[in-house]
Symmetry: C2
Subunit: 360 residues, 2 copies
Amino acid sequence: MTGEDNESVVKYLRPPGATLEDVADAAGVSLATASRCLNHPDSVRAEKRQRILDAVERLHYVPHGAARALASKRTRMIGAVLPSLDNALFGGALGPFQKTLAAAGYSVLIASSDYDPDLERTHIRNLLESGVEALLLVGALRDPAIYQLIDAKHIPYVLSWVYEKDQHHAYAGFDNIGAAIHLTDYLMMLGHRRFGVISGIIEDNDRAQLRLQGIRSALNGKSLDLDPDCVFERQFSVEDGREVFRLMMSMSKPPTAIVCGAAPFAYGALFEAAEMGVRVPDAVSVASFDDMWLAPHISPPLTAVRTPRREMGEQAARYLVAKLEGERVALPRALETKLIVRKSTGPAPFANLPGSPPPE
Amino acid sequence: MTGEDNESVVKYLRPPGATLEDVADAAGVSLATASRCLNHPDSVRAEKRQRILDAVERLHYVPHGAARALASKRTRMIGAVLPSLDNALFGGALGPFQKTLAAAGYSVLIASSDYDPDLERTHIRNLLESGVEALLLVGALRDPAIYQLIDAKHIPYVLSWVYEKDQHHAYAGFDNIGAAIHLTDYLMMLGHRRFGVISGIIEDNDRAQLRLQGIRSALNGKSLDLDPDCVFERQFSVEDGREVFRLMMSMSKPPTAIVCGAAPFAYGALFEAAEMGVRVPDAVSVASFDDMWLAPHISPPLTAVRTPRREMGEQAARYLVAKLEGERVALPRALETKLIVRKSTGPAPFANLPGSPPPE
DNA sequence: CTGTTAGCGCGTTCAT
DNA sequence: ATGAACGCGCTAACAG
């Protein structure tokens, strides 16, 4: 790429901006006093304080974060590694997370893992090196070595999008299994017995695993099984939703209810249904995780599980701040999901009423 | 504390985490050599290098970012202040931005301004204090004092989402006026003469200003005027899009073409049209900025201007990295927008062919 | 190639 | 209330 000739290596050097010492000199006080003035204003006589503040203003003094961090052992930075930044899903948590932290005086360093465990590990490491005082991660499933790495630094972290009752981690999340069971139960109550599932890629994604597990569990509870042929694993995309829907409808015995592990799948299914002339929910019901802004507007309006994205971001932020401020805080509790029933789900075709067994 | 052999007493007092000195000791080399080993591996004899790397491994050594930053004057952090993180719009640039930077060894500190200039100023200041080596901002319109602040630090920055030919700033953006003109011209070519506009809040938002300006300019080019009563300024939301659409349709002389400054407005308009039974594009055409994933799927598929979000993120990242690496780089060129014509736009009702004046 | 040394800019004891 | 001095952990000359 660029030349290796050592003498022409251009380095980035920050031209010396004003330092606290400059400010101190300009104000005719000692470095120590200037420092106090900025960090503990009350411990400095008003008169000098004014002089110092004036100098700060005049010299356009900006504190040097690294120096401050080194001396105080505080960076006031918090890291967040999310699977993706490109969509509204994780942004829905990241925004509030950042906002809450900013209000408390913290900055946030972000990185996206692209659903790649190795990339995530790398980013976590880098964030740790950058000196983040805490971490926000998504999901709990990762190499234990990563947790060791974090623990070795003794920094607090929160796992979002999942929740376990154990004490191993702090969670700012919800019960994926429970939500999936709830959704599936609702569908079964409508008479559905044959289910189709469009899931995200299971590997390395515990949210997807848990949701699938919940669906199976609910089915088993009614002595039903999830036909493996009816479970499709795809990358999150509308197109894949469309494709899988088409696939399902072409089966000899299509499912009467389709559960989508994420919103794009459901949108795709609904769009494809409209295009194919398949009536939803008359011919087939479609339900989804992640109630997003589009859900109430799409046709038919989508029945979906609201995942508490804003709440996760805020709760995670509050928890971490409390931890960092040294407060004794309890582990956050599970956040609620809510099944929002709209028009994309209805009674199973030929459904018997609840109570009478399905025809078989 | 019992059984402390004198050797470990010192360490005991130290904060968690091995330091480079510990590594050096453990490897039986000097601090300097250990440092070199990590930063310029080739300048250390293979044998010692191995010993050092082993020690690093064994002690779980993690470099101390702040210390490194202080000594090297490099933080390898880049800041980004976006109006919002909650939606896919800015995420569409942020993701690629972060990815590109990560590949080059940089981390990104983010903050959302919520379209609030004061908040933005605060965040920029904080990022500067945090030691970011460069900045990504959205739009060019802000208090000159902010640019002075940034310039005082001599750090490079890029303005995204807008583009000007001047040399004052580096842009990773596109020509909002040109895109708006192009879109409006297209609509006029279809015979439209009476336009409605749903714009974002103009104040402090130059993208919105520019787009409106472009629409006006195109109209003026055909000796037409934009009726002030047909211009609505709203917060970006589907609901506002719906509301404004309803308002417009209830006018005595409704516009035959609606230009939306952002996607949510267009979605809202289309949803509301469907609900009201207003036929698009037969009764009214709807077009929008920001071609997003939904555009091709919504009904009718939305005619929209594709804004180069990914490209902006990548170009901004590449430019900043090049700058920071000391390369002589030209200011980035304007990125292309593209009008994607779909089914939401069509000939104006009762339209005369291009050339013959509209009935009046 | 390697070790010694001098800071980087600031917070924080200590004295006063 | 204030100042002098030390050191945070590391990089980058500078010698050897």
